[in-house]
């Protein structure tokens, strides 16, 4: 047979077309392997004195992850949470986070309530170059650590505003307001501070002390006592404070039962001072333990979820409703913060277009995210504090319920005013 280039060429073309069509159908009919999930490691205390708060905080994260996955995930990938108990101890926090990074291969770490745990975990995440968002820890020592080496800790972001402002300054602003409005006349210009022996306690006690000295003319600090975080016998310390006759007693504790014991013994000692509690008296478990005896206690938290809920802010109401529906309990500030942290991660990853840590960091530094709170990060990787951003709340407990007093706009909308506590009315 004569060699024909025409036949050979035609045969080659036909073979190529058949192979190309076959390859096309072959690759399009076999489903692409699923994209691996984005793993978020969450560390919270699930045992110990703060377990109640830690458990609800974890539930906030789970709710957010479920919603995001139901809506299609992040960059086409589902979120998987790896939740571990840090026992509120730095050594346990380090151990579980290291396990999450090395064995569970998480893409990012998030969570926490304890500042010492956060300080320890920062180093673990920095070593493995994994981004870390702390949700509950509020000590300014954390930001000091970040600022001491911003390059090493560049992957770290905190969701709580600086304590000096959120706790220290807000108390002083509020005290000045109620004195100027004539709602309270202090019988002495003295204040006492009683804090737990943790970074959270000492830092916030000092912040209050610094702002009182700076902004309250003529006022003197008469006592600065530091006690164990699980202390429940305060008789000697309260006797000492009573002898100094302050008009204000600021307490900083994280254990609700310890604060409940302090409240009870404070009332027994008949100390004629305002009882100001940083954080823990805002927790439901404190009110459960103290019952009606907490009437008149004033608390402060570096969060405005409670007043926003009360004034009917749509996002706060929506979150509380879906949290209650999912878990059967009312939401707490730590839960919404943790919930928002998962959404922040989602938004940052989508903005970055990937889960690359460097791209994530750049995205977080320029993020402007609003749900219940508005998150815009300052150069120190902490959120901007103030009205319209991350706000603080001061509220008074009266017969088992919380009455927001500050920021003033929420109190005004609700018609609440400061009331003289029962022990000062005698």
């Amino acid at each position: 047979m004569k060699f024909s280039w025409k036949i050979i060429t035609t045969a080659i073309v036909i073979i190529v077309v058949i192979v190309a069509v076959g390859y096309y159908y072959y690759t399009t009919t076999i489903p692409a392997p699923p994209k691996p999930p984005i793993k978020i490691g969450i560390h919270v205390p699930l045992t110990g004195a703060v377990a109640w708060t830690g458990d609800l905080q974890a539930k906030g994260a789970i709710l957010a992850a479920e919603e995001i996955n139901n809506a299609g995930g992040v960059l086409g990938r589902n979120i998987t949470l790896v939740i571990e108990d840090d026992e509120y101890k730095p050594e346990t926090g380090v151990s579980v986070v290291e396990k999450m990074i090395t064995r569970d291969k998480v893409d990012i770490v998030c969570g926490g309530i304890s500042s010492p745990v956060c300080l320890a975990v920062m180093d673990v995440c920095a070593t493995y170059k994994i981004p870390y968002i702390s949700v509950g820890p509020s000590s300014d020592a954390i930001t000091d650590k970040y600022l001491s080496n911003p390059d090493k800790y560049k992957g770290y972001f905190r969701l709580t505003p600086l304590s000096t402002e959120a706790y220290g300054r807000s108390w002083v602003v509020w005290l000045k307001e109620i004195i100027n409005e004539g709602l309270w006349v202090p019988h002495t210009k003295k204040y006492a501070i009683l804090v737990e022996n943790t970074d959270f306690g000492r830092t916030n006690g000092k912040a209050f002390d610094d702002y009182m000295k700076k902004e309250m003319e003529g006022w003197t600090q008469v006592s600065f006592e530091i006690v164990s975080s699980t202390e429940s016998n305060f008789y000697e310390v309260l006797t000492k404070i009573k002898a100094a006759d302050p008009s204000v007693l600021l307490t900083v504790q994280t254990s609700a039962a310890s604060c409940a014991a302090l409240t009870k013994q404070f009332l027994e000692k008949d100390i004629k001072a305002l009882f100001l509690s940083v954080f823990v008296a805002s927790q439901g478990v404190y009110k459960e333990i103290t019952g009606a005896t907490a009437t008149g206690v004033i608390w402060n938290i570096n969060d405005a979820f409670v007043p926003k809920l009360l004034v009917g802010q749509p996002a706060a109401v929506e979150f509380n409703e879906k949290f209650k529906k999912r878990w059967g309990v009312e939401a707490i500030p730590n839960a919404i913060s943790q919930y928002q942290s998962i959404y922040l991660i989602k938004v940052a990853y989508e903005k970055a277009g990937s889960t690359d840590p460097e791209a994530f960091i750049k995205a977080m530094e320029t993020i402007d995210y609003t749900y219940v709170d508005r998150y815009v990060f300052e150069p120190g990787h902490y959120p901007k504090w103030g009205i319209g951003y991350r706000e603080s709340t001061i509220a008074q407990i009266w017969e088992g319920k919380d009455y927001p007093l500050w920021p003033a706009e929420y109190a005004a909308k609700l018609g609440y005013k400061f009331r003289l506590p029962p022990w000062l009315q005698k």
Partner: protein, 296 residues
């Protein structure tokens, strides 16, 4: 305010009262710890766990049956006594007389402590529990508020220690216990059943600290690791007072309480426990057997 040379007398008296209250509480804790050492020669590392169990059983009975906390406490003491006797019979008694039995008993009691704490954590959870004051109300005398619960605990602690002393001093059982503590071989020769003495010793010791746990529960609350501090204080007090000396435990308990209150009054709460350990170290350096202890 009553002043003497610029010193607020009422404040000093109130701090002394706080110190005596604290001292009474921990003397009661320490007496049982010292008693076991004196009679059996073992350090009971489960001592703090029985404090915790006393508190929890009081709470459990009160919560489940809705009866008076005082009656709940009495039932709790009975249960703890039986648990103590049972543990001694099953775990410690078989070791007695064997090679290095004191060290093995120490390790067993340490293990028991961990088992009890974790069991309670699993059953009752980590949440702090509370029970109402046994006696509500307070009285103001000379500007000092005395709450009835504290006064009741103070009086009860002192009465219990007096009763325990009287038991040891004036009853046949007490004489048997003391004889065994002094020389168990001689006691045995005199017909004293040393094994039964040990059973009673362990049961009584656990009951004493369980009473402290139940009495203090309304003030200090209840949680799985609540026994840690009382155990540590018992240890320090017994070391200061002398291992095996009941008189020493009671005296040093009150001494520790008063010095702690003075430390807080003069310095700060941060110094409170530090002062105790400084005293312990000084006493051990000067008199290693403790204030009232004797060499074994």
């Amino acid at each position: 305010m009553i002043e003497l040379n610029g010193v607020n007398i009422i404040y000093i008296l109130e701090q002394l009262y706080n110190g005596v209250f604290y001292g009474a509480m921990f003397s009661l804790c320490a007496v049982g710890f010292s008693f076991i050492w004196g009679t059996m020669g073992i350090l009971n590392f489960a001592h703090g766990a029985f404090y915790m169990l006393g508190a929890y059983f009081t709470w459990w009975i009160f919560s489940l049956l809705g009866i008076s906390p005082i009656v709940s406490l009495l039932f709790a003491i009975g249960i703890i006594f039986l648990i103590g006797v049972g543990l001694e019979k099953v775990l410690i008694s078989p070791l007695i007389g064997k090679h290095e039995w004191e060290e093995k008993a120490l390790v067993i009691t340490l293990g028991l402590s961990v088992i009890f704490e974790n069991s309670v954590l699993l059953i009752a959870g980590a949440e702090w529990r509370g029970i109402p004051y046994y006696i509500e109300g307070q009285i103001n005398l000379f500007g000092i508020n005395f709450n009835f619960q504290q006064m009741a605990i103070l009086i009860a602690s002192i009465l219990i220690m007096i009763t325990f002393w009287a038991l040891l001093k004036f009853t046949m059982i007490g004489k048997a216990l003391r004889a065994t503590a002094q020389n168990k071989e001689a006691a045995s020769l005199y017909g004293i059943n040393v094994k039964k003495v040990y059973l009673l010793t362990y049961g009584l010791s656990c009951s004493l600290i369980a009473i402290a746990g139940g009495l203090l529960a309304p003030i200090l609350y209840i949680y799985p690791t609540v026994g840690g501090h009382p155990f540590l204080m018992s240890f320090v007090i017994v070391i200061i007072g002398g291992l095996g000396s009941l008189k020493g435990s009671i005296f040093s308990g009150f001494l520790v309480g008063v010095l702690r209150s003075i430390g807080i009054a003069l310095f700060s709460a941060t110094w409170a426990d530090m002062i105790l350990f400084i005293i312990m170290i000084i006493i051990l350096a000067v008199k290693p057997t403790g204030l009232f202890g004797v060499k074994r």
